[in-house]
């Protein structure tokens, strides 16, 4: 079986103006949603408490709400979670109760109301911890971007490094944009997914850039235009692109189906990351590299490279 039975290279780069416009549009909207709607940050970052409770029968959301009212807990949110028997309660940070006391107070009130209630999960995060996790998350993203850039700079050259990171951040912003638009909860696990996407989607750029470099060095393509070289590289790695992402995506789909609520948003972030990762490394990363002036001269075979390649193979 072979997916791509193309006779000629697909002229990807001739669409690069359109793709850049599309990317800018998506990017613009993502940023817009991030600013207007903002991320629906989970308790990991905002501080606060979530409690997952389970009943043997259908959970009575109204009754839970009134119980919370009775013990004078304000600004809570109660909703079904996963199944109709489970409910998720969100409680903001309060000044007069510590996080440890708050969850106990709610738990005991719910038990008084209906002794069959089961507290399946409690996550309470103080504001201080929330701020730190937020900071650490931002630092982690920064560290990954810098680390990847430095590595690609050393392995390839700065144009590729910049192009790859732009393509990557483009994916990250889009994931965040989706989370902002749909107001999906953004928690630590989703952050892990975003960082995993950063590391993963750069692979796509690496594979294509590897081919581009190889093409620049190959005698066959000595006279080819830069866009032709890039088109050829993309076309020849197309089969790999499809297979790899299909494999990863099937795993992620398995996670969406079987992983339950906790892994749901994690898998969603990965899905968006994988889909846009393919697009961005081809239609954002490559045009970017061309625009920055990548050509035979700055990737032509230098003496040291030649030696290195000999050692490699």
């Amino acid at each position: 079986m072979e997916f791509f039975r193309v006779k000629k290279d697909i002229p990807f780069m001739s669409y690069r103006k359109i793709s850049v416009i599309i990317s800018f549009a998506i990017f613009f909207f993502s940023v817009l949603f991030l600013f207007t709607r903002g991320l629906n940050l989970g308790v990991d970052f905002t501080g606060g408490t979530i409690m997952e409770v389970s009943y043997p029968q259908v959970a009575n959301i109204e009754s839970i709400r009134s119980t919370l009212d009775e013990i004078d807990i304000k600004d809570s949110q109660v909703q079904n979670f996963g199944t109709s028997k489970d409910a998720l309660i969100r409680l903001p940070l309060t000044d007069n109760l510590s996080i440890a006391d708050l969850s106990e107070k709610v738990a005991s009130a719910l038990r008084v109301k209906d002794s069959s209630v089961q507290i399946k999960r409690v996550e309470s995060v103080g504001s201080q911890v929330g701020d730190e996790l937020y900071e650490d998350g931002a630092l982690a993203i920064l560290f990954v971007c810098l680390g990847i850039m430095v590595y690609l700079w050393l392995r390839f050259e700065w144009r590729f490094a910049v192009a790859a990171i732009v393509a990557n951040l483009h994916d990250v912003i889009i994931i965040l944009g989706f989370f902002a638009y749909f107001q999906w909860e953004f928690n630590l696990t989703v952050l892990a997914a975003v960082l995993a996407v950063l590391g993963y989607s750069v692979n796509e750029s690496v594979v294509v850039f590897d081919r581009v470099r190889e093409n620049f060095r190959s005698p066959k393509m000595r006279r080819a235009k830069v866009t032709e070289v890039v088109d050829n590289a993309i076309t020849r790695t197309m089969s790999r692109t499809i297979m790899t992402h299909l494999s990863t995506q099937t795993v992620v789909i398995a996670m969406l189906i079987f992983g339950g609520e906790i892994l749901h948003n994690f898998a969603l972030a990965l899905t968006i990351g994988i889909l846009f990762g393919i697009y961005s490394s081809i239609m954002v990363g490559c045009p970017m590299a061309i625009w920055l002036g990548t050509n035979q001269n700055n990737l032509a075979v230098t003496q040291t490279d030649q030696n290195k390649d000999n050692i490699d193979s």
Binding site: E2, I99, A100, G126, L191, V206, M255, G259, G260, F266
Partner: protein, 617 residues
Amino acid sequence: MNQYSRWKYFLILLTIGLSLIYVTPNFYGESYAIQIMPLKSGDKIESSVLKIVESKLNLENLYNKGLIYEPSSIKVKLESAEDQLKAKTVIEDSLGNQYVVALNLISNSPNWLTNIGALPMYLGLDLRGGVHFLMQVDLTTALEKTTGGYLRDIRTELRKDRVAYYDAKKNNDVIQIKFKTEQDLKDGKNIIRDINPDFDFKEMKINNEQLLKIIISEKTKKSITEFAIKQNLETLNNRVNELGVAEPIIQQQGLDRIVVQLPGVQDTAKAKEILGRTALLEMRMVDDEKSNPQNIEEAINGKPPFGTELFYDRFENPILVKKEVILTGERITNAGPSVDSQTGQSVVSITLDGAGSNIFKEVTRENVGKKIALLLIEKNLTEVITAPVIKSEIGGGRVQITGMRNTQEATDIALLLRAGSLAAPMEIIEERTVGPSMGKENITKGIQSTIWGFVAIVILMIIYYMLFGVISVIGLSVNLLFLVALLSAIQATLTLPGLAAIALTLGMAIDANVLINERIRDEIRNGNTPQASIHMGYEKAWGTILDSNITTMIAGLALFMFGSGPIKGFAVVHVLGILTSMYSAIFVSRGIVNYLYGNKRKIKKLSIGEIFKVENN
């Protein structure tokens, strides 16, 4: 050209063999068990206890599936959850309160596996159920408390050596003392230096007064905070022991935080109650002289007279108490609930250590007829438990605290005092609780995601790459084997995000094989012989695989460095998965290919799926 030397095959077989050994404990399941530990952590258990336990269980017809004796604990495997609970009661009754009996689950894997360190994967709390607390230690208070202690010591020493001073007070962590003459100041300084040679001094002369400022040096502050954390850790250890938890984790995190993980604990309210109680006991004198209605009125309005503080007793009566602390809970060596023989009231009997006894004796002698207040400080709320009149000098260090509401309270307070007080108050700033059923659900979810993801990849790879697909899939299975073996061997904590990382790693690791297979197809497309294509395919793919794995690794390391809790669990597995995938996807799969094709002189075709070729190229 496609041949491995023998040692390479041997290495592959060896690593697979070792991995198989380390993976096996995961399949044996667990037994219900009880664990018997000495009350004080760090103490050893005597082997005679083992015999008592065995005979008691036999008497009750509780069949034990095995007794494991370790110097620090005894573990008894039992048939069912029901037996487990029965056995717990039986053993608790027969051993008395010198031991803690906890419920536990123990792996059923054979002893020889356990002896070589092959254990099942260490499950995180989100998979096995339990409570995780992150506690913030209030070091400022610890510092102030110690400064207060120094002030007390300085006063005592100066008085003892008859150095005249007046107006000794503290302001945060600076102590100020006024002396009449320069000579007094000089003498005082020498005495104070003996208390702690690291004090910094500052002398000042204001209006004929000799002012000495004693500044606690940074070095001392550091050792105070270190000591506070250490003592809090120890106290928590003792308290957790009283709770009866098997395999608790109590660790310092960062400068001023402590992580407490209690697997299997379901009664979170009780756990919080015991851990979070920052009960500090203080004895201070009631300021009888200033306790007139006018002063109390002003104190209620927030202006207590100089040197005093206002607290309420249990009947909401305001009491003016001197700021100076006579004794704290640290001086208590033992505490227990009892009943006062005269009144029949519940009381707590405490025993003070040597220094504490002396101070108490001195104070009671000097203050006969005055009131001494016992303050219980909890969560920044201070309550006067009792404020009796001192009838006579009390020596011997045995003190009864009256004013308990009931026996339960006497027991609770005794426990807190016995288990040690905290050197600094703590607050729970993060809590993650997972119920036991949720833990099991999470395991199922994680494993199902992995299995079905894996199955899908297997089908995809075999359809697309035929025999090379099979080889890739074998490589991937070996990767899974290595990863699980490695996680078991190093006992890394496996969490739900960690399980997701296993699945995701499989999905990502296959990229290496896809790259290799595509490269081989390329080479065939370019008209190379099958043998040369295999060789070139692996060689050319190597660089790309390395690049992409290193970038993924950078992300993994960042996750590990900056991540906490769930993220860290994900990162550990992710990073390990990258390492094992490099080995299995390249080295092991190449081994299989070489074994299958390497010795054949003439191969017409590789079973790597249909290759589309442009004819006129």
